[in-house]
Protein backbone atom coordinates (compact mmCIF):
# COMPACT_ATOMS: atom_id res chain seq x y z
CA UNK A 1 0.00 0.00 0.00
CA UNK A 2 2.85 2.40 0.94
CA UNK A 3 4.76 1.64 -2.27
CA UNK A 4 1.62 2.11 -4.36
CA UNK A 5 1.03 5.54 -2.85
CA UNK A 6 4.68 6.47 -3.29
CA UNK A 7 4.65 5.56 -6.96
CA UNK A 8 1.40 7.47 -7.47
CA UNK A 9 2.84 10.51 -5.74
CA UNK A 10 6.03 10.46 -7.84
CA UNK A 11 3.98 10.12 -10.99
CA UNK A 12 1.82 13.14 -10.22
CA UNK A 13 4.26 15.80 -9.05
CA UNK A 14 8.02 16.29 -9.54
CA UNK A 15 8.24 18.12 -6.18
CA UNK A 16 7.56 14.82 -4.51
CA UNK A 17 10.95 13.59 -5.73
CA UNK A 18 12.70 15.71 -3.04
CA UNK A 19 12.08 13.40 -0.08
CA UNK A 20 12.84 10.39 -2.24
CA UNK A 21 16.16 11.89 -3.27
CA UNK A 22 16.87 12.62 0.39
CA UNK A 23 16.35 8.96 1.21
CA UNK A 24 18.48 7.95 -1.72
CA UNK A 25 21.20 10.35 -0.57
CA UNK A 26 21.04 8.86 2.90
CA UNK A 27 21.41 5.35 1.52
CA UNK A 28 24.44 6.34 -0.55
CA UNK A 29 26.01 8.08 2.42
CA UNK A 30 25.39 5.06 4.62
CA UNK A 31 26.77 2.74 1.99
CA UNK A 32 29.91 4.82 1.72
CA UNK A 33 30.23 5.02 5.47
CA UNK A 34 29.87 1.25 5.73
CA UNK A 35 32.53 0.75 3.10
CA UNK A 36 34.92 3.08 4.96
CA UNK A 37 34.12 1.30 8.20
CA UNK A 38 34.87 -2.08 6.76
CA UNK A 39 38.03 -1.31 4.80
CA UNK A 40 39.84 1.81 5.95
CA UNK A 41 39.04 2.97 9.42
CA UNK A 42 41.01 2.49 12.52
CA UNK A 43 39.27 1.94 15.86
CA UNK A 44 38.94 5.65 16.74
CA UNK A 45 36.66 6.34 13.84
CA UNK A 46 34.47 3.25 14.20
CA UNK A 47 32.21 4.73 16.89
CA UNK A 48 31.64 7.97 14.93
CA UNK A 49 30.82 6.18 11.68
CA UNK A 50 28.61 3.63 13.45
CA UNK A 51 26.68 6.41 15.13
CA UNK A 52 26.22 8.29 11.90
CA UNK A 53 25.02 5.13 10.15
CA UNK A 54 22.54 4.51 12.95
CA UNK A 55 21.27 8.09 12.79
CA UNK A 56 21.07 7.86 9.02
CA UNK A 57 18.91 4.72 9.27
CA UNK A 58 16.54 6.46 11.65
CA UNK A 59 16.26 9.45 9.31
CA UNK A 60 15.56 7.15 6.36
CA UNK A 61 12.88 5.18 8.21
CA UNK A 62 11.30 8.38 9.53
CA UNK A 63 11.29 9.97 6.09
CA UNK A 64 9.79 6.88 4.43
CA UNK A 65 7.00 6.64 7.00
CA UNK A 66 6.34 10.38 6.85
CA UNK A 67 6.17 10.40 3.05
CA UNK A 68 3.92 7.35 3.00
CA UNK A 69 1.47 8.78 5.50
CA UNK A 70 1.38 12.15 3.81
CA UNK A 71 0.90 10.60 0.39
CA UNK A 72 -1.90 8.37 1.70
CA UNK A 73 -3.63 11.34 3.28
CA UNK A 74 -3.22 13.45 0.12
CA UNK A 75 -4.69 10.73 -2.05
CA UNK A 76 -7.63 10.34 0.35
CA UNK A 77 -8.26 14.07 0.22
CA UNK A 78 -8.08 14.01 -3.56
CA UNK A 79 -10.60 11.17 -3.68
CA UNK A 80 -12.97 13.04 -1.38
CA UNK A 81 -12.53 16.18 -3.47
CA UNK A 82 -13.45 14.24 -6.58
CA UNK A 83 -16.59 12.86 -4.89
CA UNK A 84 -17.58 16.31 -3.68
CA UNK A 85 -17.02 17.73 -7.16
CA UNK A 86 -19.26 15.05 -8.69
CA UNK A 87 -22.02 15.71 -6.15
CA UNK A 88 -21.73 19.44 -6.63
CA UNK A 89 -21.92 19.10 -10.41
CA UNK A 90 -25.08 17.05 -10.03
CA UNK A 91 -26.55 19.59 -7.61
CA UNK A 92 -25.74 22.45 -9.98
CA UNK A 93 -27.27 20.54 -12.91
CA UNK A 94 -30.53 19.96 -11.03
CA UNK A 95 -30.62 23.46 -9.62
CA UNK A 96 -30.13 24.80 -13.13
CA UNK A 97 -32.89 22.56 -14.46
CA UNK A 98 -35.36 23.80 -11.82
CA UNK A 99 -34.29 27.37 -12.45
CA UNK A 100 -34.75 26.84 -16.18
CA UNK A 101 -38.26 25.46 -15.68
CA UNK A 102 -39.11 28.25 -13.24
CA UNK A 103 -37.79 30.84 -15.71
CA UNK A 104 -39.69 29.24 -18.56
CA UNK A 105 -42.94 29.44 -16.62
CA UNK A 106 -42.28 33.05 -15.62
CA UNK A 107 -41.40 33.89 -19.19
CA UNK A 108 -44.55 32.23 -20.48
CA UNK A 109 -46.75 33.99 -17.96
CA UNK A 110 -44.95 37.30 -18.40
CA UNK A 111 -45.33 37.06 -22.19
CA UNK A 112 -49.00 36.23 -21.84
CA UNK A 113 -49.63 39.16 -19.49
CA UNK A 114 -47.77 41.66 -21.63
CA UNK A 115 -48.56 40.28 -25.06
CA UNK A 116 -52.11 38.98 -24.67
CA UNK A 117 -53.85 40.13 -21.50
CA UNK A 118 -52.82 43.78 -21.56
CA UNK A 119 -53.79 44.37 -25.20
CA UNK A 120 -57.13 42.64 -24.60
CA UNK A 121 -57.84 44.81 -21.55
CA UNK A 122 -56.86 47.95 -23.45
CA UNK A 123 -59.24 47.03 -26.27
CA UNK A 124 -62.02 46.21 -23.80
CA UNK A 125 -61.61 49.53 -21.98
CA UNK A 126 -61.74 51.34 -25.33
CA UNK A 127 -64.85 49.40 -26.36
CA UNK A 128 -66.56 50.21 -23.05
CA UNK A 129 -65.92 53.90 -23.57
CA UNK A 130 -67.19 53.86 -27.15
CA UNK A 131 -70.00 51.40 -26.87
CA UNK A 132 -73.72 51.63 -26.84
CA UNK A 133 -75.38 49.92 -23.90
CA UNK A 134 -76.47 46.78 -25.83
CA UNK A 135 -72.84 46.00 -26.65
CA UNK A 136 -71.83 46.05 -23.00
CA UNK A 137 -73.13 42.51 -22.43
CA UNK A 138 -70.76 41.23 -25.16
CA UNK A 139 -67.88 43.08 -23.57
CA UNK A 140 -68.72 41.59 -20.17
CA UNK A 141 -68.71 38.10 -21.75
CA UNK A 142 -65.27 38.70 -23.20
CA UNK A 143 -63.95 39.84 -19.83
CA UNK A 144 -65.41 36.75 -18.17
CA UNK A 145 -63.77 34.53 -20.76
CA UNK A 146 -60.36 36.08 -20.23
CA UNK A 147 -60.74 35.84 -16.47
CA UNK A 148 -62.13 32.32 -16.26
CA UNK A 149 -60.16 30.58 -18.98
CA UNK A 150 -56.90 32.40 -19.26
CA UNK A 151 -56.16 34.26 -16.00
CA UNK A 152 -57.29 31.32 -13.91
CA UNK A 153 -55.15 28.87 -15.92
CA UNK A 154 -52.03 31.00 -15.54
CA UNK A 155 -52.67 31.71 -11.86
CA UNK A 156 -52.97 27.96 -11.38
CA UNK A 157 -49.59 27.47 -13.09
CA UNK A 158 -48.01 29.90 -10.65
CA UNK A 159 -49.50 28.16 -7.61
CA UNK A 160 -52.57 25.91 -7.42
CA UNK A 161 -55.12 27.57 -5.08
CA UNK A 162 -56.15 24.22 -3.56
CA UNK A 163 -52.63 23.86 -2.14
CA UNK A 164 -53.20 27.09 -0.19
CA UNK A 165 -55.76 25.22 1.90
CA UNK A 166 -53.76 22.05 2.56
CA UNK A 167 -51.67 19.32 0.94
CA UNK A 168 -54.68 17.01 1.18
CA UNK A 169 -56.98 19.41 -0.69
CA UNK A 170 -54.25 20.09 -3.27
CA UNK A 171 -53.64 16.42 -4.01
CA UNK A 172 -57.33 15.46 -3.94
CA UNK A 173 -58.01 18.20 -6.49
CA UNK A 174 -55.07 17.18 -8.67
CA UNK A 175 -55.97 13.50 -8.69
CA UNK A 176 -59.76 13.66 -8.86
CA UNK A 177 -60.92 11.20 -11.56
CA UNK A 178 -57.28 10.47 -12.44
CA UNK A 179 -55.76 8.40 -9.67
CA UNK A 180 -56.49 6.83 -6.33
CA UNK A 181 -54.87 8.73 -3.45
CA UNK A 182 -53.79 7.30 -0.12
CA UNK A 183 -52.33 9.98 2.11
CA UNK A 184 -50.86 9.37 5.56
CA UNK A 185 -53.62 10.23 8.01
CA UNK A 186 -51.34 12.65 9.84
CA UNK A 187 -51.44 14.96 6.82
CA UNK A 188 -55.22 14.86 6.50
CA UNK A 189 -58.24 16.51 8.09
CA UNK A 190 -58.55 13.42 10.33
CA UNK A 191 -55.59 14.81 12.30
CA UNK A 192 -56.42 17.71 14.58
CA UNK A 193 -55.65 21.23 13.48
CA UNK A 194 -56.52 23.43 16.40
CA UNK A 195 -56.31 27.19 16.51
CA UNK A 196 -55.70 29.51 19.39
CA UNK A 197 -57.04 33.03 19.34
CA UNK A 198 -54.68 35.42 21.04
CA UNK A 199 -56.06 38.62 22.43
CA UNK A 200 -53.04 40.73 21.60
CA UNK A 201 -53.40 42.03 18.06
CA UNK A 202 -56.28 39.64 17.40
CA UNK A 203 -53.75 37.11 16.19
CA UNK A 204 -55.03 33.75 15.07
CA UNK A 205 -52.38 31.06 15.38
CA UNK A 206 -52.19 27.32 15.66
CA UNK A 207 -52.34 25.88 19.13
CA UNK A 208 -49.77 23.53 20.60
CA UNK A 209 -52.43 20.83 20.47
CA UNK A 210 -52.36 20.80 16.70
CA UNK A 211 -51.43 17.25 15.74
CA UNK A 212 -51.54 17.61 11.98
CA UNK A 213 -48.15 17.42 10.31
CA UNK A 214 -46.81 20.19 8.13
CA UNK A 215 -44.58 19.84 5.09
CA UNK A 216 -44.38 23.59 4.45
CA UNK A 217 -45.46 25.45 1.32
CA UNK A 218 -42.26 24.80 -0.64
CA UNK A 219 -42.04 21.06 0.00
CA UNK A 220 -45.83 20.82 -0.43
CA UNK A 221 -45.48 22.42 -3.86
CA UNK A 222 -42.61 20.07 -4.73
CA UNK A 223 -44.68 17.02 -3.73
CA UNK A 224 -47.58 18.31 -5.81
CA UNK A 225 -45.38 18.89 -8.88
CA UNK A 226 -43.63 15.52 -8.60
CA UNK A 227 -46.95 13.69 -8.40
CA UNK A 228 -48.37 15.83 -11.21
CA UNK A 229 -45.48 14.89 -13.52
CA UNK A 230 -45.53 11.21 -12.50
CA UNK A 231 -49.28 10.85 -13.06
CA UNK A 232 -49.05 12.66 -16.42
CA UNK A 233 -46.32 10.20 -17.46
CA UNK A 234 -48.42 7.22 -16.41
CA UNK A 235 -51.45 8.55 -18.29
CA UNK A 236 -49.43 8.85 -21.50
CA UNK A 237 -48.29 5.23 -21.38
CA UNK A 238 -49.96 2.54 -23.41
CA UNK A 239 -52.23 0.28 -21.40
CA UNK A 240 -52.58 2.39 -18.24
CA UNK A 241 -56.06 2.08 -16.80
CA UNK A 242 -55.29 2.51 -13.13
CA UNK A 243 -52.93 4.80 -11.22
CA UNK A 244 -52.48 4.86 -7.48
CA UNK A 245 -50.60 7.41 -5.42
CA UNK A 246 -49.38 6.85 -1.88
CA UNK A 247 -47.83 9.55 0.28
CA UNK A 248 -46.64 8.29 3.63
CA UNK A 249 -43.95 8.28 6.26
CA UNK A 250 -41.34 5.54 6.69
CA UNK A 251 -38.82 6.00 9.48
CA UNK A 252 -37.26 9.39 8.76
CA UNK A 253 -38.47 9.64 5.19
CA UNK A 254 -41.45 11.00 3.37
CA UNK A 255 -42.22 8.40 0.73
CA UNK A 256 -44.13 9.10 -2.48
CA UNK A 257 -45.15 6.14 -4.63
CA UNK A 258 -46.92 6.43 -7.98
CA UNK A 259 -47.91 3.08 -9.47
CA UNK A 260 -49.60 2.34 -12.75
CA UNK A 261 -50.67 -0.80 -14.59
CA UNK A 262 -49.36 0.33 -17.97
CA UNK A 263 -46.66 -1.21 -20.13
CA UNK A 264 -43.42 -2.04 -18.32
CA UNK A 265 -40.20 -0.08 -18.69
CA UNK A 266 -37.82 -1.03 -21.48
CA UNK A 267 -34.45 -2.40 -20.38
CA UNK A 268 -32.81 0.83 -21.49
CA UNK A 269 -34.89 3.95 -21.24
CA UNK A 270 -34.09 7.63 -21.17
CA UNK A 271 -35.34 10.25 -18.77
CA UNK A 272 -37.71 12.68 -20.41
CA UNK A 273 -38.37 16.20 -19.09
CA UNK A 274 -41.04 14.96 -16.66
CA UNK A 275 -38.75 12.47 -14.93
CA UNK A 276 -35.92 15.01 -14.92
CA UNK A 277 -38.20 17.47 -13.13
CA UNK A 278 -39.07 14.81 -10.53
CA UNK A 279 -35.40 13.96 -10.06
CA UNK A 280 -34.48 17.64 -9.72
CA UNK A 281 -37.17 18.24 -7.09
CA UNK A 282 -36.23 15.12 -5.12
CA UNK A 283 -32.55 16.07 -5.11
CA UNK A 284 -33.38 19.63 -4.11
CA UNK A 285 -34.66 18.11 -0.87
CA UNK A 286 -31.75 15.65 -0.63
CA UNK A 287 -33.98 12.75 -1.56
CA UNK A 288 -33.75 9.89 -4.04
CA UNK A 289 -35.87 8.81 -6.96
CA UNK A 290 -36.20 5.42 -8.60
CA UNK A 291 -38.33 4.03 -11.39
CA UNK A 292 -38.75 0.29 -11.72
CA UNK A 293 -41.01 -2.46 -12.97
CA UNK A 294 -43.24 -4.09 -10.37
CA UNK A 295 -45.77 -6.90 -10.62
CA UNK A 296 -48.45 -5.65 -12.92
CA UNK A 297 -46.90 -2.32 -13.84
CA UNK A 298 -44.40 0.35 -13.03
CA UNK A 299 -43.65 2.23 -9.84
CA UNK A 300 -42.02 5.57 -9.31
CA UNK A 301 -40.63 5.93 -5.80
CA UNK A 302 -39.37 9.14 -4.23
CA UNK A 303 -37.91 9.24 -0.71
CA UNK A 304 -37.21 12.55 0.96
CA UNK A 305 -35.68 12.94 4.42
CA UNK A 306 -38.39 14.33 6.67
CA UNK A 307 -38.73 14.81 10.40
CA UNK A 308 -42.43 14.81 11.35
CA UNK A 309 -43.23 18.36 12.36
CA UNK A 310 -46.60 19.65 13.45
CA UNK A 311 -47.83 22.98 12.17
CA UNK A 312 -47.31 24.54 15.56
CA UNK A 313 -43.72 23.31 15.88
CA UNK A 314 -42.99 24.76 12.47
CA UNK A 315 -44.40 28.16 13.39
CA UNK A 316 -42.53 28.21 16.72
CA UNK A 317 -39.32 27.39 14.90
CA UNK A 318 -39.75 30.23 12.41
CA UNK A 319 -40.60 32.63 15.24
CA UNK A 320 -37.35 31.71 17.06
CA UNK A 321 -35.46 32.23 13.82
CA UNK A 322 -37.01 35.71 13.41
CA UNK A 323 -36.16 36.58 17.00
CA UNK A 324 -32.53 35.53 16.60
Amino acid sequence: MTLKYLIELLRRDRMNWAPVLLIFGQIIYMGSATMVLLYELDDSHVAAVTTSIFVGMIVIIYTIVGVARTSARLLQIEKQDAEIRTLFEKYVKNRDLLELIDNQIREEIGSWIHGTLQPKLVKLAKDVRNSKSEELEQIAKRIDEINEHEVRAYAHKLFPPALLVSLEVGLESLLENRAELVLDVRFTSAADLRFSILNQGCEVTLSENSARLSVGRNLGYAIYRMIEEAVANSEKKFGTTKISVHVGLENDFLVISVRDNGEPLAIKFEFGLGLSVIEAFSQKYEGTMSLHNVTGGVELLVKIPYTPTTFNEKIERSKSKDRS
Binding site: L164, S166, E172, S173, L174, L193, R194, F195, E203
Partner: protein, 144 residues
Protein backbone atom coordinates in the same frame (compact mmCIF):
# COMPACT_ATOMS: atom_id res chain seq x y z
CA UNK B 1 -91.32 37.32 8.63
CA UNK B 2 -90.17 38.03 12.20
CA UNK B 3 -86.50 38.08 13.20
CA UNK B 4 -86.61 34.90 15.30
CA UNK B 5 -87.58 32.72 12.33
CA UNK B 6 -84.90 34.16 10.11
CA UNK B 7 -81.56 32.40 9.68
CA UNK B 8 -78.83 34.34 11.47
CA UNK B 9 -75.80 35.04 9.32
CA UNK B 10 -72.36 36.65 9.66
CA UNK B 11 -70.03 37.64 6.85
CA UNK B 12 -66.22 37.42 6.67
CA UNK B 13 -64.95 39.09 3.49
CA UNK B 14 -61.78 41.11 3.00
CA UNK B 15 -62.86 42.71 -0.31
CA UNK B 16 -64.60 45.89 0.89
CA UNK B 17 -66.83 46.30 -2.17
CA UNK B 18 -67.94 42.69 -2.16
CA UNK B 19 -68.53 42.77 1.58
CA UNK B 20 -70.80 45.83 1.16
CA UNK B 21 -72.67 43.94 -1.56
CA UNK B 22 -73.14 40.88 0.68
CA UNK B 23 -74.26 43.10 3.57
CA UNK B 24 -76.95 44.64 1.38
CA UNK B 25 -78.08 41.25 0.04
CA UNK B 26 -78.50 39.64 3.45
CA UNK B 27 -79.90 42.74 5.19
CA UNK B 28 -82.66 43.06 2.60
CA UNK B 29 -83.40 39.33 2.47
CA UNK B 30 -86.49 38.04 4.20
CA UNK B 31 -84.94 34.68 4.99
CA UNK B 32 -81.80 35.93 6.70
CA UNK B 33 -80.92 38.23 9.61
CA UNK B 34 -77.47 39.78 9.33
CA UNK B 35 -75.79 39.74 12.75
CA UNK B 36 -72.28 40.90 11.86
CA UNK B 37 -69.85 41.65 9.08
CA UNK B 38 -66.04 41.36 9.34
CA UNK B 39 -63.13 42.19 7.08
CA UNK B 40 -60.97 39.26 8.24
CA UNK B 41 -60.95 36.04 10.26
CA UNK B 42 -58.94 37.88 12.88
CA UNK B 43 -61.59 40.57 13.30
CA UNK B 44 -64.25 37.85 13.61
CA UNK B 45 -62.14 36.00 16.18
CA UNK B 46 -61.54 39.14 18.22
CA UNK B 47 -65.24 39.49 18.81
CA UNK B 48 -65.65 35.74 19.31
CA UNK B 49 -63.00 35.86 22.04
CA UNK B 50 -64.64 38.82 23.71
CA UNK B 51 -67.90 36.86 23.80
CA UNK B 52 -66.12 33.83 25.29
CA UNK B 53 -67.26 31.40 22.56
CA UNK B 54 -70.91 31.25 23.54
CA UNK B 55 -73.04 28.85 21.57
CA UNK B 56 -75.81 31.44 21.06
CA UNK B 57 -73.48 34.10 19.68
CA UNK B 58 -72.36 31.94 16.75
CA UNK B 59 -74.72 32.48 13.81
CA UNK B 60 -76.49 29.66 12.04
CA UNK B 61 -74.62 30.47 8.84
CA UNK B 62 -71.19 31.96 8.19
CA UNK B 63 -70.49 33.35 4.74
CA UNK B 64 -66.71 33.54 4.31
CA UNK B 65 -64.11 34.28 1.66
CA UNK B 66 -61.60 31.40 1.69
CA UNK B 67 -58.59 33.75 1.77
CA UNK B 68 -59.89 36.37 4.23
CA UNK B 69 -57.00 36.47 6.67
CA UNK B 70 -54.24 39.01 7.29
CA UNK B 71 -51.96 36.01 7.90
CA UNK B 72 -51.12 34.30 4.57
CA UNK B 73 -50.76 30.94 6.33
CA UNK B 74 -54.34 30.98 7.59
CA UNK B 75 -57.35 30.36 5.40
CA UNK B 76 -60.95 30.28 6.50
CA UNK B 77 -61.73 26.70 5.40
CA UNK B 78 -59.33 25.08 7.87
CA UNK B 79 -60.22 27.61 10.55
CA UNK B 80 -63.98 27.09 10.34
CA UNK B 81 -63.48 23.32 10.19
CA UNK B 82 -61.44 23.60 13.39
CA UNK B 83 -64.26 25.57 15.06
CA UNK B 84 -66.65 22.77 14.06
CA UNK B 85 -64.18 20.27 15.59
CA UNK B 86 -64.40 22.27 18.83
CA UNK B 87 -68.14 21.64 18.88
CA UNK B 88 -69.45 24.94 17.53
CA UNK B 89 -72.44 24.41 15.28
CA UNK B 90 -72.93 26.45 12.15
CA UNK B 91 -73.14 26.06 8.40
CA UNK B 92 -70.48 27.69 6.22
CA UNK B 93 -70.78 29.03 2.69
CA UNK B 94 -67.43 29.84 1.07
CA UNK B 95 -67.15 32.42 -1.65
CA UNK B 96 -64.04 32.88 -3.76
CA UNK B 97 -62.89 33.84 -7.24
CA UNK B 98 -60.38 30.96 -7.14
CA UNK B 99 -61.46 27.40 -7.71
CA UNK B 100 -60.41 25.29 -4.72
CA UNK B 101 -61.12 21.98 -6.37
CA UNK B 102 -61.90 19.24 -3.88
CA UNK B 103 -61.99 21.45 -0.81
CA UNK B 104 -65.65 20.67 0.06
CA UNK B 105 -65.08 16.94 -0.43
CA UNK B 106 -62.21 17.05 2.06
CA UNK B 107 -64.20 19.14 4.57
CA UNK B 108 -67.10 16.69 4.35
CA UNK B 109 -64.90 13.76 5.38
CA UNK B 110 -65.10 14.91 9.01
CA UNK B 111 -68.29 16.97 8.96
CA UNK B 112 -70.54 15.67 6.16
CA UNK B 113 -73.11 18.47 6.27
CA UNK B 114 -73.29 22.22 6.14
CA UNK B 115 -70.60 23.23 3.63
CA UNK B 116 -71.21 25.16 0.44
CA UNK B 117 -69.18 27.00 -2.17
CA UNK B 118 -69.98 29.78 -4.62
CA UNK B 119 -67.59 30.91 -7.32
CA UNK B 120 -67.24 34.67 -7.43
CA UNK B 121 -67.61 35.93 -10.96
CA UNK B 122 -69.35 38.73 -12.81
CA UNK B 123 -72.42 36.56 -13.49
CA UNK B 124 -73.04 35.86 -9.82
CA UNK B 125 -76.44 37.21 -8.86
CA UNK B 126 -78.07 38.14 -5.59
CA UNK B 127 -80.51 35.29 -6.10
CA UNK B 128 -77.72 32.73 -6.66
CA UNK B 129 -75.98 33.81 -3.44
CA UNK B 130 -79.18 33.61 -1.40
CA UNK B 131 -80.08 30.22 -2.88
CA UNK B 132 -76.62 28.84 -2.14
CA UNK B 133 -76.80 30.24 1.40
CA UNK B 134 -80.21 28.69 2.01
CA UNK B 135 -79.19 25.29 0.56
CA UNK B 136 -76.04 25.22 2.68
CA UNK B 137 -77.99 26.00 5.83
CA UNK B 138 -80.71 23.48 4.97
CA UNK B 139 -78.07 20.76 4.43
CA UNK B 140 -76.72 21.55 7.88
CA UNK B 141 -80.11 21.84 9.58
CA UNK B 142 -81.07 18.26 8.60
CA UNK B 143 -78.61 17.02 11.16
CA UNK B 144 -80.02 19.14 14.02
Amino acid sequence: MNQSSKISVMIIENDDDFRDLLNDIFELSEQFALRGSFSSIEEFCNLLLQQGLPENWIPQLLVADVLASVNPRIESASFLAALRDEGLNFAALFISSADFGSMLRVLRKKHPHGWGFVLKNSRLTERAILEAAFETYRDFAVTR
